[in-house]
Structures are given as C-alpha cells and as structure tokens.
C-alpha cells in the first residue's frame, strides 16, 4: 500500500507541463530511434546521455527513461513494416508482425504491438515497485564476498544467455570487458595497470566512449555493410487504429504471463530485451491453442513478443537501481548516466533516496502513456520516418558518436577510444560475439577486482568465506551449475536423461545490443 501511495505521489509531482513536454519529445525521439534499423535503444540512451549534461538530474533521468522505453517499443514499427527489427528486441515481433502486414493488417499489428508494449511495461512497473525495495534491503547485507560473486554472476549469466549457441563466446566477451576494466588506476592502492605507456589511460577506459563506440560506431558500420530493406506498400493498411479490445481480452493471460517473464528476464544481469521477447514468445507458443499459426501472422505471438520485450525495461532497472548491476545494455548506460548526474545506484539507494525508485516507476508510467498515445495516433508519421535514407542518417549519427563522448571530458583521446571500440565491436559482432557481456565486464570489472582483493584481505587470504557465507555459497553454486550446464556434452547427457527439459532460448538475430 505504501508503495502504491509513494508511486502516486511521485506521479503527481511529475505531472508538470515542463515534465510532460520532456516526456513527449523524449519518448517520440525514442520511438524514432527505435524504429530506424541501425539506431538502437542502447545507442539512443548513450547519445542522449551526452545531451543531458546541462539538465537537472531529475529531468535528465526522465528523458533517458523515456528514450529507453520509446526505443524498445519503436523497434516494432520496422519489424512489422520492413521485416527488419528496429532494435534486436523486436526480432521476435518481426516473425508474426511482418506476415500480418503482408496480409494488409499492418495497422492492427501495430496497434496490438502498442497495447502489448504498454501493458508489458505496466506489469514490469508493478514488479519494480514491489521487488526493488526488498531487494535493496537484502543487498544491504552484501559484503565484499557477495559482491565478488554478484559481479561474476552477472558476467557468467549474461555471457551464457546472450552467447546464443556458443556460451563460450559470451564468456570470452565478458572476459574481454573485464580485461578492459583492469586498465588504469586500480581502486585499492591506486596502482596504475596496463596503461601501455599512455598517460591518457591512467584513469582507465571511460565507459561512455567505449559504449558509444561498441554500440554506435559499430552500428553505423553494420548498417552501411548490410543490404537495404524494402518498405512494404502500406498505403491501405497503415492507417491509425485502436487495438481490437476483443483480441486484447482474449490474450489477457498471455499478456500477464509475458509481462512476468519479461520482467524476470530483465532482472537477470546483462541479458536484455531480446531474450525477454524470445522467452515470452517461446512460452506463449508452447501454451497456445494455435501454435501452428506462430510465425505466419499470429496476433497472439506478436502480443507475447512485444509484451515480453517491453516488460524487460522495468525489470532491468530493478538490479540496476538496487545493486548497480544492469539488467540490460541500455540499463548499463543508464547507470553511467546516473553516476554522471550524481546519483549512486546500489543497496544504499533506499536509505539515501528512498523515493527515487518510485520516481523512476512514475517516469516509466509516463513514458508508457506516451508510447500508447503516440503509437496509436502517429502511424503515418512513423512510416515517413522509416523512409529516411541511411545515407543521410548515418553521418549525423557518427557525428554524434564523435562529439558525445568528447563533450563529457573534452579529451580528443576519448574519440580514439570510441573509434577503437567501434571497430573492435563490429568485428566481434560479425563473429557472433555478444556485446552485452563485454559492456557488463567493463562496468563490473572494478567491483569484481575490488571485492575479491578486499574480501581476501578481510579473511587474511582465506578463500573459505567466499564459499561458506549463505548468499556467497548460493551465488557460487549457481555460477558453477551455469558453467557446467553450458558444456554441450553435459547438456546432451542431461537431455537424454530428462527428455522434457527445455532447450536453450533462441537467441536474437542481432543480439549485440538492444
């Protein structure tokens, strides 16, 4: 009850004309970013972060959240109309959305996607409000031993779930990120490591240039490398439409279930929206009365995918706010933005700023309302947006990739960092290495390093507290089991013993960022 009251108070305080104006433009920009193949939610949040330096912290976080929610939703537009997911999170949406559009039901598909996204986010918001405070309370009991395992857990799980058919590549990506985090002055004795003789590296590799490179410049290269997509003839079907209430009512269980699945997937560190969409889609198909229609224009499949990916957004913010461990790649950038604006996410947040989580939830509610309004009313505008040629868009995006990270520190070195990570990111992506564990490694590297050494110092070099304290032992057991189960031979043996065991979640076609 207290949670809902706090949420209502936060909503009322946010309902000023200025805030609503920020919600409107940021969400619209987010939908614009998400709907254009090549511009992703992570990139949108990263680039917008560099534009929020001069805003006050509440407004900055508000516009970033609106960008995040809008971009994840916006991906459904190009998925439905172009059969190209605007963001990887919408890959599952394309499976049924595009066949629906081909049948002349683009408007209905977009309306259902809008309703699914809005309802999915709302389910996630409820879980955020209910789960975040107790989780933060539990996290208060965490010491160095637990934080070490938590950091490792995030990277292992993210590597495993985003590595697709090859968890090994996910683990390697995570290790690469951790190695990058080892560069520069370490957190206990301020000893400079691996600076390669460059004074600019004494402070380490900054997160924003690395992320803008890995997600922005790499995306520019990917878009220019790919063949162009063809836009459907949408003159007849893409009119403004409201979702058919009957459809929504028919899929009420699918929506709630997908919302819960999406939120839970969001809570798992570094996994992200695309896995949320695929998991919800897979479960909906398994439980559907008409699984044969999936992939051929199933409105139920479309609803499940869109509900699932949108519910990940609030879910990903739960560990991001309470543990400072991002649930998804855009949430990782959001954590960086929070630090830039003087907010310290982590277990202390409920003590230092008890109302902050409710403010975030209220911002999510406003963003959800905005996507519902824009999604149902501006169909024609989105189609025009999709027609912006990439030849015009990409140089502008690259310019922002250059100036954004530079603006933060005003160091030309950061431009080179961005370029380096862009080129590396592009090559790694082409070789099926996921980007999320890499970014998570950069973020969690310092925590892992400091926690391990601090823990060992506290225990006088004794490793046993890492395995005997209850929470540490649980984390260690989960990590061990995850790694063992990711070995193909072990998995095959298990499948033989337990035939009904669910197989691995289908990875996204372009997992690398969402």
């Amino acid at each position: 009850m207290h949670a809902l009251q706090s949420l209502a108070e936060a909503l009322i305080s946010l309902c000023t004309p200025m805030s609503l104006l920020h919600v409107a433009w940021a969400t619209l920009l987010g939908i614009f970013v998400g709907s254009l193949p090549g511009l992703t939610a992570t990139m949108g949040v990263a680039l917008l972060t560099t534009l929020t330096y001069t805003l006050d912290k509440d407004t900055a976080i508000l516009v970033l959240i609106c960008m995040y929610v809008g971009a994840i939703y916006g991906g459904s537009r190009s998925a439905i109309l172009l059969n190209i997911p605007g963001t990887p999170a919408s890959a599952a949406t394309a499976l049924d959305g595009f066949p629906l559009a081909q049948r002349g039901e683009a408007a209905n598909a977009m309306a259902l996607a809008t309703a699914g996204s809005a309802l999915g986010t709302l389910v996630g918001i409820v879980m955020l409000v209910l789960l975040a405070p107790p989780l933060a309370e539990v996290a208060l009991n965490f010491g160095s031993f637990e934080f070490f395992w938590l950091a490792l857990f995030g990277i292992v799980i993210s590597g495993q779930l985003t590595g697709g058919g090859s968890p090994l590549k996910g683990y390697i990506a995570g290790l690469l990120g951790l190695m990058v985090a080892m560069i520069g002055s370490e957190g206990i004795h301020a000893h400079v490591r691996f600076n390669l003789g460059l004074r600019d590296l004494n402070g380490g590799v900054a997160l924003i240039p690395a992320m803008v490179g890995a997600f922005g410049f790499a995306e520019v290269l990917t878009v220019m490398w790919r063949p162009k997509g063809e836009l459907l003839d949408t003159k007849k079907s893409a009119t403004s439409a409201l979702p058919r209430m009957l459809d929504l009512w028919r899929y009420k269980f699918t929506i709630v279930r997908s919302g819960i699945i999406g939120t839970i997937v969001g809570i798992i560190p570094g996994v992200g929206e695309d896995i949320g969409a695929w998991s919800s889609y897979a479960v909906a198909k398994k439980l559907s009365k008409h699984p044969e229609l999936y992939g051929k224009g199933s409105t139920e499949g479309l609803t499940a995918a869109e509900t699932g990916n949108s519910a990940v957004v609030p879910g990903a913010l739960i560990p991001a706010l309470t543990l400072a461990v991002p649930g998804s790649a855009p949430a990782a950038v959001l954590i960086a933005a929070l630090f830039i604006h003087g907010i310290r996410p982590g277990p202390m947040i409920m003590i230092e700023q008890p109302d902050f989580i409710y403010s975030i939830a209220a911002m999510l509610v406003l963003a959800t309302l905005a996507i519902a309004v824009f999604g149902l009313s501006l169909t024609r505008l989105f189609i025009k947006i999709l027609k912006v040629p990439r030849e015009l868009l990409m140089p502008v995006v690259f310019t922002l990739c250059v100036i954004g990270p530079y603006a933060l520190t005003q160091r030309v070195f950061d431009i080179w960092v961005m370029l380096f990570f862009g080129l590396i990111g592009f090559v790694l992506r082409r070789m099926d290495y996921p980007m999320a564990p890499l970014v998570l490694g950069i973020i969690l590297g310092t925590l892992l390093d400091k926690s391990l050494r601090r823990g060992l110092t506290l225990s006088n070099g004794d490793l046993s507290p890492f395995f005997t304290r209850p929470i540490s032992a649980s984390f260690a057991a989960i990590i061990f089991l995850s790694i063992v189960l990711s070995i193909p031979a072990v998995r095959r043996a298990l499948f033989r013993i337990i035939p009904g065991l669910p197989g691995p979640v289908k990875p996204s076609v372009t997992e690398e960022q969402s």
């Binding site: 190695m179 140089p395 310019t399 250059v402 070789m431």
Partner: protein, 173 residues
Amino acid sequence: MLVDSRTADRLTGMVLLMLGIAMLAGGYTMDRLEIRQIHPASIPGLVPMGLGLAMIICSVLLLVSTASTTDTSLPEDSAVSEDSEKTQPGSFKNLALTIVLCLAYAGGLLGKMPFAVATGIFIFMFSAVFSWPEKSVPVRARIKPLLLIALFAVVFAVGISTLFQYGFLVRLP
C-alpha cells in the same frame, strides 16, 4: 561473417590465447607494492592473473572446438537461425568507404578546422558518396540531389555545433 566462421574462430582463438598469456604475465610481473607493506592478497596483479588464466582456458576451448567442428558456418549446436542477418551478404565496398570516411573525419578533419566546417564536409561527403547516382543519370539530374545533400549537411553541421557549443558550453575540437 567476414571470413568463414571456423577460420575466424581459429584466428580469434590464437589472438585471445596470446592476450591471455600477456595478461597472465603482466599480472605476475606487476609491482607487488611490498614497500608499502600491503597484504599479499590485495596485490594489483591478482585479478589480471586470474583473467589471463581464464582467457587462456577459453581460447584453448575455442581452438579445440574449431578443430572438432565439421560445419564451416556455425557451431555444432548453434541455434542461430538461417535467416540470421549474419548469414546475409554485406558490402565490403560500403564498409571500407564508411571506415575511411569516418576515420578521415575523426582523425583528419577534426581539430584542423572549425568543428562546423569539418562536420559539414563529412556529412556532405558521406551522403554524396553513398547517394551518388548511376552513370546513366544525366549530369543535370545529379545536381539537384547534391544541392539538397549540401543543404542537409550545412543545417546539421551548424545545428550540432550550435547545440554543443552554446547549449552545452562544450569547447569543440
């Protein structure tokens, strides 16, 4: 993929193996800070050593898996679908042009001239190169799109420069 996946994985595996060895050696030879009498368990090289070791193990596993995999396109149990974007052919020419243009802008133009001018030239060049009409198009018909691209470049170059310089008070490169 830029090259077939097995070859790419083998090459990557070798590079990562070297990286792992370098990290292990770097961590081992790193200053132990004995002079500061720090606890041996908190030496700065501890985690880099662990990461180096983990990377060596992972890269060896990658090399072993490439040796045992017969499929040349995807790992044995890969669930990546055939419609994956990674299986679609891309344009090396476009990629090379993009890299050259982007590096020329970031490394060659920025700092050598005012930011707005450099950005304008970059946006115009990028858009013009990738929108260049085919040879069969008459010269007159090529001029109008180029003028529009030039206008687009000027508007965005001035807009971005103004926003950062006066809106965010950034001293532009």
